[in-house]
Subunit: 217 residues, 2 copies
């Protein structure tokens, strides 16, 4: 297949698609930990929304003559490694992972999407990054749990820090191995100072999310 899209955009579609596919799997798996049918319903609905995003990214790649399997392949290892190193121990940890992890990923992808040349691809990426309802649901449930037992806040704050740490390890690995993707970001209009500002925006948003949960970042 001869793709019209540049390698960096294909990389971005690949990592996003595989990220959505695994987010789907993990949310659906965590739905098993849900304490009530209502919670299970909520989490399963979010998982189904992630699958719909995956399906759209997959269809877009096909329509652009990009082989989706090929595009996803380089990201299987780092994305799986992130998930394997952060299995939630209970329902609350699963919710925080969905909220904090997806939030961080979404912020990052949204920054990168700004540098994508192809307008249709950029539009689709911004659409699939739309919140699937994790945010308000997770905030409500975690806040409730901390109110009922303030002692869990310490453990959950540590969990939040661990998620960010593991995400950064894998992101760095991808950055080293996928030159085109890194170039997209660095070569776009970002100099070192720009990257510094990007990281500080990501960190600020992460801190705000942890605060919304009533947790220290």
């Amino acid at each position: 297949m001869t793709a019209r899209l540049d390698p960096a955009t294909i990389d971005l579609l690949g990592v996003l698609a595989y990220g959505e596919l695994t987010a789907f799997e993990r949310l659906a798996t965590d739905a098993r930990l849900a304490p009530t049918i209502t919670d299970k319903h909520a989490l399963a609905s979010m998982a189904a929304a992630e699958f719909e995003h995956y399906r759209r990214l997959y269809a877009h790649m096909l329509s652009e003559d990009v082989d989706p399997q090929e595009a996803m392949r380089p990201f299987v290892q780092p994305v799986d490694a992130f998930h394997d190193s952060t299995p939630p121990n209970d329902w609350l940890e699963g919710l925080i992972k969905a909220y904090v992890g997806d939030g961080l990923a979404t912020d990052f992808y949204r920054e990168v999407a700004a540098f994508v040349q192809d307008a249709a691809t950029r539009g689709l990426i911004l659409e699939v990054l739309a919140d699937t309802g994790q945010a308000s649901f997770a905030v409500a449930k975690v806040t409730e749990a901390i109110a009922a037992d303030p002692a869990v806040a310490g453990r959950l704050a540590l969990w939040g820090r661990r998620l960010v740490g593991e995400a950064l390890i894998q992101a760095q690995r991808v950055a080293v191995e996928r030159d085109a993707l890194t170039e997209l970001l660095v070569g776009g209009s970002l100099d070192l100072a720009g990257i510094g500002r990007l990281l500080s925006r990501l960190t600020d948003n992460h801190t705000a999310r942890m605060q919304a949960l009533g947790l220290q970042a």
Copy 2:
């Protein structure tokens, strides 16, 4: 809410909906065991189809003034017990569970659906029982695996028998506890001889499915 549907039909919608919701969770979870991205894609697509069935049953209950949570509640324990007692140990066991388990459930529900008075409900049930592609996918993959290593056939045949055994235990529990649902079947037009014939139809279909996999029932 005052439901227009009779208790047996509500029970049937409840057990079907909860069955689809858990089938979704389990298929999505088993997608993690998939050896390739293509396999993962196939299993995740089936899981998403199960969720769409669940969503339609849920919407139908709401439109009929049935509380879906209430309708599902009596079946949470037996359906969860079935899944908890049959965790697949690997990818092949997961596929067989999807194929054999769903096949058995589908055959049974299709028989029961014949006795549902409400035409709209009956039509919807028959629609959501449509095959989501498990069958041909599972048969192809399992046949391939047995060809590559004939020794696995014995273990997988035992696994198939275990699935049926556990399913029967839970079905019997439901039959004892849910009078209306049992009445639907027994009081419909089925006498004891009819139930005997029903069981033999279910068993014959199960044997045919195991044979399609190249396994002894």
